[in-house]
Amino acid sequence: MENLIVLKDIVVKFDGEQVLNSINLEIRDKEFITLLGPSGCGKTTTLRIIGGFVEANEGDIFFDGVRINDVPPYKRQVNTVFQKYALFPHLNVFENIEFGLKIKKMPPKERSAKVKEMLELVGLKGFERRSIDQLSGGQQQRVAIARALVNRPRVLLLDEPLGALDLKLRKEMQTELKRIQQSTGITFIYVTHDQEEALTMSDRVVVMKSGNILQIGTPQDIYNEPINAFVADFIGESNIIPGIMRTDYHVEFAGNSFECVDTGFDPDQLVDVVVRPEDIKVVEADEGMISGVVKSVIFKGVHYEMLVEGAGEDWLIHSTVASEPGTLIGMNILPNDIHIMDREEEPVLSEQKEDGNED
């Protein structure tokens, strides 16, 4: 697959404060790529760079190999579903969706047919004459998607489009959006702070933190091989325990020596050990490598979530069987489920320069 959009060393500053620190990102044609990160990490700004609403202080942006830094938004082959929809309040549903086509001077008949088709696609048939303020959040959402999609852009930018919807509707729309993306072949650049959403919908996920890209990869890559403890924790609840990598395949943590599958660390290097809650096996107290006391149990539907204290650490465990609070249990972890990461230096928030993890 070829690259459709390339961001090269993009730096953005607001009032002297660096919001994007030399972002490099290659977006492939027809892919569903998601920018994932906590609020304020620069996702919207990255999207606005692509849409043309923010100018980069440094760096270049290419579309189809052509530098488009100075191309105004209205000339870009990109449409946006804005974070808060930004529907036109003086126009009804039909007129909102029709807007882009009207600007392009498409004949009314053709226009009308396309709008109808779109309304059907987003499940709003019969809503043509409704005014915007008569719609629920979910319906407005779908109008916003239709208004952007009807123009058949090369790229669709979506800024937390499902943020305002309730869980059930959000799940439905996730499936719907994925389906639309696959059937239209439009490149989707999707922004969310919801890791589950990112993992279920995307071809590739870009994990961001305070203006930096930490990791780019498929959802599987990101989930199974997070590059550092921050990504691991953000991408799913994790146990992050300090440890020492004694030699290849041997790591020490929680007062115990474990076998693992990682190599290439310095002898006796300080590391972070990441273990997923579902990867801790609960056994009898005397059969586990670590033992601990159950502090709390919460029923979560598919599994129980247990908080266990043992070996000086708190352990989060997802298990299909519950143990009574107060009981002593044993815990085992398989070598494959132990993920070793360079110990992340606590980033100094005020200092924006970041030089990676070279230690």
Binding site: G51, F53, K75, V78, A86, F88
Partner: protein, 271 residues
């Protein structure tokens, strides 16, 4: 919204004393002669002053249009500025209003006089002098100068409600600046335009000081005419009441037409 009767009472009393009773009195005077007997004479006499009435409407109309043309871009620029700058700009708009209305108009009188500062400057650079005072142009100028803030403020307050993201959305959908204006900004600003027009046209059409001071004797307006009937040597309150009634009905008609125009957007309208 349901307002309890006791809360509304003070306003109802206010309305009766200061709106309903005067209206009844004006109507009574308009349809009676000096002795209090019913007559249509006052009403039919109004038609003798058609020229004055049309001049008033025309001058007020021109002043309103000029105000709109000046205020619209100004209000737009202010509404898009940063919050801190908006405050400064607004202060500049309001500043002249802190000065007494008469004083402001007097100032224009001395500026525009045949031997006033402007003409003297013009003579110095070899053009002029021009007859500026006592012309319709001077009256319009006076009205524009005095009523411009009444156009800017409603426009500005309306335009601050037009969110930037709507403008961005239009650009995103392919609209160049011209289209962003005609398809989004203008339609969304219409309520403000309507309010501004009302707030300038109504006082302008009934003004009397400005026309007297800057327009001289030959540019009399309805306001002057009415004033003459009550306080001037033409003393005839019954005729004055009839003209007032006519003016009021005309303004009501204009405003209901504007309201019609603006059916859906109740927001920002003056009832």
């Amino acid at each position: 919204m349901k307002i309890s009767r006791s809360t509304a009472m003070p306003y109802i009393i206010w309305m009766i004393i200061f709106t309903v009773i005067p209206l009844i009195l004006v109507t009574y005077f308009a349809f009676t002669d000096g002795n209090g007997t019913f007559t249509m004479a006052n009403i039919s006499e109004v038609k003798d002053y058609v020229a004055v009435i049309f001049r008033s409407i025309w001058l007020a109309f021109v002043a309103t249009v000029i105000c709109l043309i000046i205020a619209y871009p100004l209000a737009y620029v202010v509404s898009r500025a940063s919050e801190k700058k908006q405050k400064t700009y607004l202060l500049l708009v309001m500043l002249p209003m802190w000065m007494n209305f008469l004083l402001r108009t007097y100032a224009w009188m001395t500026l525009l006089e045949n031997t006033g500062i402007i003409n003297r400057l013009l003579v110095m650079i070899g053009i002029g002098p021009f007859a500026m005072i006592n012309t319709q142009g001077a009256v319009v100028l006076g009205m524009v100068y005095n009523y411009l803030p009444f156009m800017i403020l409603p426009l500005y307050s309306n335009m601050t409600k037009i969110e930037n993201r709507l403008i961005e959305a239009a650009q995103d959908l392919g609209a160049p600046s011209r289209k962003v204006f005609s398809e989004v900004v203008w339609p969304l600003s219409l309520p403000g335009v309507m309010t501004g027009i009302t707030m300038v046209f109504v006082p302008a059409v009934s003004t009397f000081i400005i026309s007297r001071m800057l327009g001289g004797g030959s540019n009399m307006m309805i306001g002057d005419l009415i004033e003459l009937q009550f306080l001037g040597n033409a003393y005839n309150p019954n005729l004055g009441a009839a003209i007032s009634l006519g003016l009021m009905i005309f303004i009501l008609l204009c405003m209901s037409m504007l309201n019609q125009f603006n059916e859906e957007d109740k927001e920002g309208m003056i009832i």
